[in-house]
Symmetry: D2
Subunit: 144 residues, 4 copies
């Protein structure tokens, strides 16, 4: 149940909680975007980068806001179901990273949702800037 | 559907959203505490105090964190149901306010939940301090 | 502060709540998808269709799950900011509707985020089916 | 980082996520109640009882809704902080269980919040009924 690297992806377990579903017990589409963010946090931690020092770093004067997010929902998932989330680096540019997210049923590894999230490095004035060096190196190593 | 003062309470409409229920379509108990907070925000706005300048005010050096919250859930409420929330000032001390929250079905005014939230004024070092004067005056006027 | 039709869009007010932001006070990207869903609910209500009878209707044997969602975040929005959300029908097919969402700062009508959500009509076995007639008529009338 | 039994309590790690804090980066009081629910879920799983078959069980005709919840917040916790949550059985009656929740900073084991949640067994008509036998046995064994 712990995380591991599978095919250049970080695979983490996702648990469906109360408050994550719609009133019919099916995972609410907005919850997948929270799981994607959990995936980025797990990715950063996996490589020794504490998320609370990377999403916003006042000392070094950078932040990493999300500028675009998209997801397709292929199959309903319900409270009690258990998922794997594979977090991959799809693309790296000098100032941005595109993460790819694939959600699988743990039981049969069937794909249930797939999405993308783009984060951009910004400076103190919210202008786009170069990614922090150590982060850039890590994500470039993970790019296919 | 807009707010009004009824018997020294501010009555506001509460709408149940996706993500507010448990997987069976019944409002998740944790959601009531969010509604209570919405109630305090509506209360502040009703008296001309912008919530974002009261929950934390760096210029004047105070904050109003919640230090205690309790709620009883008397009757299941479902997605599609519509509620009134009555926000009352139950008690005022020099450094704290106790709000009382009563949730009613709009259809028949049946009580479905009741709770309390205590907020305390703190200074820059998170020590309890006197409530802001203008807030104290308002809540004292609303005390039974 | 109430909703109105503006240029074939339903314009509704969006209030930023505690729990909607990231730890830095900026609206968390996942929250925009919740607001989009609130927008679809407001759209249904505006045309006399109760959301809790449309997202899932066991009697008539249909549901309207979200199959795709995407959003771009152009400008940070903070707790205390007030937004308009314009909900438009971008595209209607026999079994699906694409809604378009534009978020504006209320103060200056500057666009801060834009997104799309696709919902599909399904039958009891989660197979795609024709949209309910009355819904189809409404969204076709709103298509540009 | 995994769970363990400590002094008749189930100790689980709690991670603060985006969306769990207020706009100032301090954990929003309503989030603690979500963590309490996660604690009950972890407790059930620890004893081999799948939560999705216990909070509502249509086959056996029972449910376990929350009827009361209370929490005191002693110290601000921030995004990036790591907590332990100790889940204890405080009291068992024939139809209800009172769980006690103690939140500690992982770093120094300082208590930051403490709460209680009461769940009641109900039958198909939402009338209080006897707790499921196997659950009753487990919680009685955990009572101090």
């Amino acid at each position: 149940m712990s995380e591991e690297i599978v095919d250049r992806a970080l695979r983490i377990p996702i648990r469906i909680h109360f408050g994550d579903t719609d009133p019919y017990g099916v995972v609410y589409f907005a919850s997948y975007f929270k799981y994607c963010h959990h995936g980025i946090e797990a990715f950063l931690r996996h490589y020794g980068l504490p998320p609370h020092q990377y999403f916003r770093n006042p000392e070094r004067g950078f932040g990493l806001p999300v500028v675009e997010a998209t997801c397709q929902f292929l199959k309903p998932v319900r409270y009690g179901d258990e998922l794997w989330l594979d977090v991959k680096v799809k693309d790296v540019k000098s100032k941005s990273i595109t993460f790819e997210f694939s959600f699988y049923e743990r039981e049969n590894l069937q794909l249930v949702a797939r999405g993308y999230v783009v984060i951009v490095a910004i400076d103190r004035s919210w202008k786009a800037c170069e990614l922090p060096q150590e982060l850039r190196k890590i994500v470039e190593d993970m790019t296919p």
